[in-house]
Symmetry: C2
Subunit: 196 residues, 2 copies
């Protein structure tokens, strides 16, 4: 029996459950700590962002009940991560974009567009968008989502910079600014601020 | 007639609506840009965080359909903000905490505890937590929420620092670390990662 500790009272001592199942949260703290991936955050309803997840993050990722993952790195996943996705019926969408350094950055327009369509499709939610550090490639895709949500550019860039920190790139911000959202405008959005 | 532009096709030219209502999103971009408050972000389902909102943010805040606001500043709101809250039936919970500078920081335990109870109550969602800059007081309250969500401290601090930037305070992080969550543990949580 797996307890939902937040909604269910811990069973009484007389309960038939074995002792390890009758522990309340207060007794199991050490086992229950969640380790979110690097640079993890919620983007909006059903969409999360982060850096590259590793096995230490599996417990946390499982708690998000993800339906899909958008990986923006070209490298293949380690076997353990593929097994984790399979075991939890999480669909992987891989859009490999090289993690180039300035001034050789080339965020491919069409790849971001395809990734954006996957990200906006509520059938794929809850969904995690990630790259290696959750800064540049993820920042570009999230920036395009914000443009669709009609955020002013200064707020879009402010959010981009919060994650990129000292590694913020003008080229990424230019990409976000110039990205053509006109073809995606009538895509249904389920976000918090998508309706007037 | 108010169109939900994302879900409804723009009316045909022959439609009886007056011209200004038959414009599609593509034609009304300039009017439709949202200005989120300083340091705005989604914390989790139904909870947002930011710095002090001003009248430029009202359109965006309205789009969030807030039910309540937790203000962690002691200063009274400007009349225009009070009117905005009233017009949109948003309940204000004010927990005035002085915005002291280190080493005179004193985040009051009991006040954060009371604010936390309001923040966790889904009847108050969607809810915005804010202080002046969305860094220290808001960062402490959100940090306590993350502890309740059982995030490891390094991730809690990483998020705190992402918003506080160069203004990050060890004293705030110590407050978050030492805050006693035991009395709040069985509070029902509606968050993305509250259940195993």
């Amino acid at each position: 029996m797996k307890l939902d500790n937040y909604n269910v009272q811990p069973p009484l001592a007389a309960d038939a459950s074995p002792p390890q199942d009758s522990l309340s949260d207060a007794d199991t703290d050490a086992e229950d700590i969640f380790v979110p991936p690097l640079n993890f955050a919620m983007v909006d309803n059903g969409i999360f962002r982060s850096g590259f997840p590793n096995s230490a993050n599996f417990g946390f990722l499982k708690s998000l009940r993800l339906r899909s993952v958008i990986c923006l790195c070209p490298e293949p996943y380690p076997e353990s991560t593929l097994e984790f996705l399979k075991a939890n019926e999480i669909r992987l969408y891989q859009f490999g974009i090289d993690g180039c350094k300035e001034p050789f950055v080339n965020i491919p327009n069409d790849t971001i567009r395809e990734a954006l369509k996957v990200a906006l499709d509520v059938k794929n939610h809850p969904l995690l968008i990630h790259c290696k550090r959750g800064k540049h490639r993820t920042g570009c895709l999230v920036g395009c989502i914000r443009r669709l949500q009609r955020w002013c550019l200064s707020s879009v860039f402010d959010e981009y910079q919060r994650f990129a920190g000292a590694k913020a790139r003008v080229s990424d911000q230019r990409f976000i600014e110039l990205f053509d959202i006109s073809g995606l405008k009538h895509h249904p959005l389920s976000f918090s601020c998508s309706r007037k």
